[in-house]
Symmetry: C2
Subunit: 267 residues, 2 copies
């Protein structure tokens, strides 16, 4: 008997978001799908995990029937909990999304969607983060189809241990898509502005706003590719070492830090 | 007149933690120190930023005199707010810590201490994250001295744009320290276990626990170096692209995703 593919699905927009429903619909064509997602929206939580308060998990129903598990925590919590306590074994793949809004360039650092997939990569499970480049998406069907096909490709081609695939899809009908490209994380980032306001009690508060500084100009960069109507596929990992800086630091004179204790770094 | 060095200090243990007080004491020997830190402990928040609720910032006093600014937010919020709204210019350096507990290997991904320094690196400001390898540190004076001297070294040698220095210090007196080493992020990680309990109302809840899987065996790896009583200096960045996987992906047949829209990736 053929073994069915096991797929764990999570996101950061919460278990009620349209994006996760589209993802589940398309991934069910490939195998068994288990949803473990945050009960409430968790955007911009980065790779937060819940440690100071206990986690709560509840069975979640839609239209009276079981839909998945809702976790009162972060996307990374959902993946840990889904693999360790619900499935109790590794799924074949974890797919996170579909996020409403792109996760390219610097946004990868802040993204809860990506952190769910990264948590899977840390646990040696192949994973994909999927985002559609609009906060009010109109073309979810193409994004769902891409999610399904990329999932098949990752299952077929594999990814290096510790690497996940970050997929960003323009919010366009298929016929307007220019192509599908392997990409690198772009250099576009935010220039932050805090908007100051006064509450009814005379106290200041601040909203984080800002404008995007476009530093990308090549289709090999995720942000630029999506802006130019390409689907961008960026493999990312959690080895954060800057190896060039590491080599350069071997030349630093560390004897000033503590003269009694200096050892020579290997050359 | 000589321009004084401007240092922005933050952390994730909160503005009342002993670690930040030690850091401020030692860094004041180098220049002007501004503290902008979370009002409450923010461990394991990763690179979260506050966007869905407004930020509050208050002047914080200790013993009746101004000590710094307390932000009702995350470490990354503190650095953004400190640079954009309080200093209104870039400081010479941002130093985050001293964290109670090491931030090596996989813990770098979850660390609020590191995310404060990473936020500075994103804003093109040199930065350092400092942690002492104990949750109940006894030897803060050596850690304070190391923080001061590494700050001088980073100001003198510079770091590549977008790279921060992650410093981990054993909780030992100086004479027991074996040396100071440039290191890489280690491969040690957690095997998570959720401890299940029942609340007084009969409902389940879970605490995240786990045991460390030691995958490091070389002094060039941060976790192993600290465990063997060395100070570990790991340069890290936020370019998350897995370049080898990116090159390999150019061989993938992407025509299955959407046959109408395939373009050939550059070879």
């Amino acid at each position: 008997m053929e073994k069915r593919i096991k797929i764990l699905v999570s996101n950061d927009d919460g278990i009620e978001s349209l994006g996760i429903h589209v993802l589940v619909k398309y991934l069910k064509e490939l195998g068994d799908v288990l949803v473990v997602a945050p009960l409430t929206e968790q955007s911009a939580v980065g790779h937060a995990i819940t440690m100071k308060v206990p986690l709560r998990v509840t069975e979640y129903k839609t239209n009276g029937s079981f839909y998945g598990y809702a976790v009162e925590g972060t996307p990374a919590d959902c993946v840990k909990m889904g693999i360790k306590n619900i499935l109790k074994e590794k799924p074949d793949i974890v797919v996170s999304g579909i996020n409403h809004g792109s996760n390219t360039a610097i946004n990868i650092v802040y993204s809860g969607t990506v952190s769910a997939a990264r948590e899977a990569a840390i646990m040696d499970v192949p994973s994909i983060a999927v985002s559609i480049a609009s906060h009010n998406p109109q073309h979810f069907d193409f994004a769902g189809k891409v999610s399904r096909e990329i999932t098949k490709l990752v299952l077929a081609n594999g990814l290096p241990t510790g690497t996940l695939l970050n997929v960003n899809i323009p919010d366009l009908p298929e016929e307007e898509i220019m192509g599908i490209l392997p990409t690198m994380q772009g250099k576009t980032k935010w220039d932050d502005v805090y908007e100051e306001r006064i509450d009814p009690f005379g106290k200041k508060y601040f909203w984080l706003t800002g404008k995007l500084i476009e530093n990308d100009n090549n289709l090999s960069q995720d942000h630029f590719a999506v802006k130019n109507n390409y689907v961008a596929l960026t493999p990312i990992h959690f080895d954060l070492t800057d190896y060039r800086a590491y080599e350069n630091m071997k030349q630093w004179d560390l004897s000033t830090v503590s003269d009694k204790t200096i050892v020579k770094a290997e050359k």
